[in-house]
Every structure is written in C-alpha cells, then in structure tokens.
Amino acid sequence: MHTHPVDGFDSFSPMDFYGFHTSHTANSNFSTMFVLGANGEVYSLTITDPMKFTNFAGLFPLTDHFDPITQGWKKGSPIEKAFMDAFTGLYREQGKTADDAYALANTYVLKKYNAGMSISKKNSNGDFETLFVEEKKDPNDDTKTIYEQTSTCNLKKKN
C-alpha cells in the first residue's frame, strides 16, 4: 500500500504501472498493489494476464512512454494520445470527476494496450470492483466516439 498526495490523482499513475512491473520482476509473488488517494479512495492494481504483463514493458518501454517529470504518459506517445481522448471524453462529456476520469482513462489504455493488469476501486461495502471502460460509436453518428464506464468485463465478445 502506498499513498498519493493531494496534488496527485487518487488512482494509479504510469509510474505505478512501470514500478509494479519492476517489483514483480524482482519478486514474482508481488502480484497486487494498493494505493490510498488523498480523497480517501482506495484502488488496487492486479495482474490479470501474466504473459501480457511481462510483455507490456518490453513492447512499451518506460523510456518511450513515461514522462519522469510529470510521472504521466509521455507527451505525444500513442498511449498518451489514447489516454487523453478517453480522459477528455469521460471527464468533460460523461461528467465524471477528474479523479474518476483519471482512473478510468488509465483503465481504458491498460486494456487497449494489453498491459495484463487491471484497476479496481474499493466501494462503500469494502469490496473491490474492477473498472471497465467501453469505447463505442454514437448510435446516431458513427463518426463520434463515446467512452463509458461499464460493468461488462468481456468487451471484445459483446455484440
């Protein structure tokens, strides 16, 4: 368990994703981590696909995809562009809070780029609920893209 200060977002950052990979490489028993945000929210990060998790840091190396100054995705990288699209759509259009949109936009890119890990958020009952985001076309205009939080876990098989 670690904490995020008030200046940072509650949920996991790209620094956590790469740090998680480093820690797991050093100790394969390290398969879940937790963060307590400044607003009191608790998130967990879990390996869901060990093969994808192992490959992710090789396919998307830290040097090309991580910004050590902001601790976010590297400006202009494909992951950062996808993150920004999802963050903007979720925060500015779907009315999520900035902290929720940040967690969900990272959920979206972890899935999109096959990172093999998933984010869960602790609910009021103390249970951790895995976050999912669906990218879909506006039914009235297929040139518009919508990002929505969903409880559907197997998005690829959804009709």
Partner: protein, 138 residues
C-alpha cells in the same frame, strides 16, 4: 441508358464528395502543421500572435491537459478545430505548452461557462499566455 447515366452520375458525385472531404481534412492538418514547423516564430510569444497568424481557421474548442503529479495546475492546452462531439478520437490537435503553470481553478471557470468552446473569453484568457512549445498531430 437513362438508368446507366443516373448511376454514373451518382458514382461520380460520391467520388467527388469523398475526395473533397479527404482533401479538406488533409489541408487542415497540413495548415495547422505549418505552425509546428514554424514554432520558432511563436516560442516566447503570447498565443495571440499565433492566433493572429492563423488566418484560415481558428480553434473551436480548448481542453486542459491534466498533470499526473500536479492536478491543481496545467502546463498544456489542446486546441481542436472540429465540433466538440468529434474531439475525442483522431481530432486534428494543436497542443501548446505554456511558459508558466496556470491554476486549474482559473481554467475550470471558462470550461464551466463556455463548455470547452473557444469563445472570445478564452481568446482573452489564453491570448496573453506565453508559448514554450507547439505540437500538432491527429
């Protein structure tokens, strides 16, 4: 024969429209890209200088870029040239890095008032902010 001519006309119309649409999209990106290519003219200058030079098109929306370890501030803004609903995937993007941090509390006032549209309010607010980098992509 008449049916053939109608089909031919429709096909030509579709091709013409599609080609024009593609060209229009390409032209906008090419045009905005010139401001990245000529960024040396704008670095150290207020945004108003760039906007004055941008005679063929103007931004329609502006979006703050969140900073992972400093969420109360912004250092970059994204300007799009399409309607807001089309801004969330593959939009032509002019991304400006500012010389100084801007408190997000100031930015959010404009976001709430004008719903992310780049109105005269935003033109005044961002117009005197100094540029340190320009990136264009879609």
């Amino acid at each position: 024969m008449a049916v053939k001519n109608i089909i031919k006309t429709v096909v030509l119309f579709v091709i013409f429209t599609f080609t024009n649409t593609m060209n229009a999209q390409m032209d906008t990106l090419t045009y905005i890209k010139t401001f990245e290519i000529n960024k040396a003219n704008y670095i150290g200058q207020p945004l108003s200088v760039l906007l004055n030079d941008m005679t063929l098109i103007q931004p329609k929306t502006v979006w703050a870029v969140p900073i992972t370890n400093k969420k109360t501030m912004i250092k970059e803004s994204i300007f799009n040239f399409c309607e807001k609903d089309y801004s969330f995937k593959n939009a032509i993007t002019l991304r400006i890095t500012w010389q100084d941090y801007i408190p997000y509390s100031q930015v959010s006032v404009y976001e709430n008032d004008n719903n992310f549209y780049f109105t005269n309010d935003e033109r005044l607010f961002y117009g005197n902010k100094i540029i340190t980098d320009i990136m264009v992509y879609r």
